[in-house]
Symmetry: C2
Subunit: 145 residues, 2 copies
Amino acid sequence: MKLLDIGELTARTGIPASTLRYYDEIGLISSVARHGLRRQFPPETLLQLKLISMGKSAGFSLDEISGMFAPDGQPDLPRPELHERADQLDRQIKELTALRDTLRHVADCPARTHMECPTFKRLVELAGRRAGKDGRKSLNKKERA
Amino acid sequence: MKLLDIGELTARTGIPASTLRYYDEIGLISSVARHGLRRQFPPETLLQLKLISMGKSAGFSLDEISGMFAPDGQPDLPRPELHERADQLDRQIKELTALRDTLRHVADCPARTHMECPTFKRLVELAGRRAGKDGRKSLNKKERA
DNA sequence: CTACAACTTCAAGTCAACTTGAGGTCAAGC
DNA sequence: GCTTGACCTCAAGTTGACTTGAAGTTGTAG
């Protein structure tokens, strides 16, 4: 199992070394050894970093992410909670889809003011259908605690 | 055109008054008058706030959002840029979909360690297919400027 | 007319997620 | 054996998005 040093990770992911050190510090990833002073990361770290980036882009905090995928890359949460998160993502995906369609419409609709365009309004309403009020809101750190 | 005061907005959106004042301050929404000291918002503000919430959940900064939908609720960006954003959202939607599927898989897969499960790996790889390296990264404020 | 709840301002504080900088260590190549 | 560059630590700084608190104002209900 060949180990990677921080520069290698940076080169392969584009994530700055300072960030990787920070992630290591907070236990989001973990080096398995040192070569001199230098952190040595196992190759799975690459996969973990991909998961982290996915989670971040889904709007999860680092804290939530480390709850989903424990430091060793293994998921930590009970099944029902994972399913709940997946459902949440589903809602978010719907919202993003509506936003995308809204953007496309806005780019193409020649109406003078969008606030008066029925298509526009419909799109936005459609988005709020289930996503607006709670969406991802409901399991912030505080509320989970 | 009946005007809404901040409490009304709070009641109808769940967004704290302090946040609405902050949004007003940075020009993301705008009150059209004062009743005494009190801000009076036009009813479109409700729609704007929905757009803002959608944008936030898509991971856009308030700054980017105000670039997309100007203070009066009208979009500001040139068409090509709006389309580019829509395409970006498309990529993000794909990523989120992969994350959702990953989560579902993780909740159900009985494998001892997920790092060894081929389905898991495939899902993650699939996610990184186009989203990982740049994703939404490429038009941060700095890079746009 | 008075009380009061709902607003107001302004400065300062908070939190997550990093970044920066100063100063130090060390393995590898010449 | 010495230089060099890639790493290290630790403290402090930054940014975005708010929140909090103190102190003041005002429209409306009684």
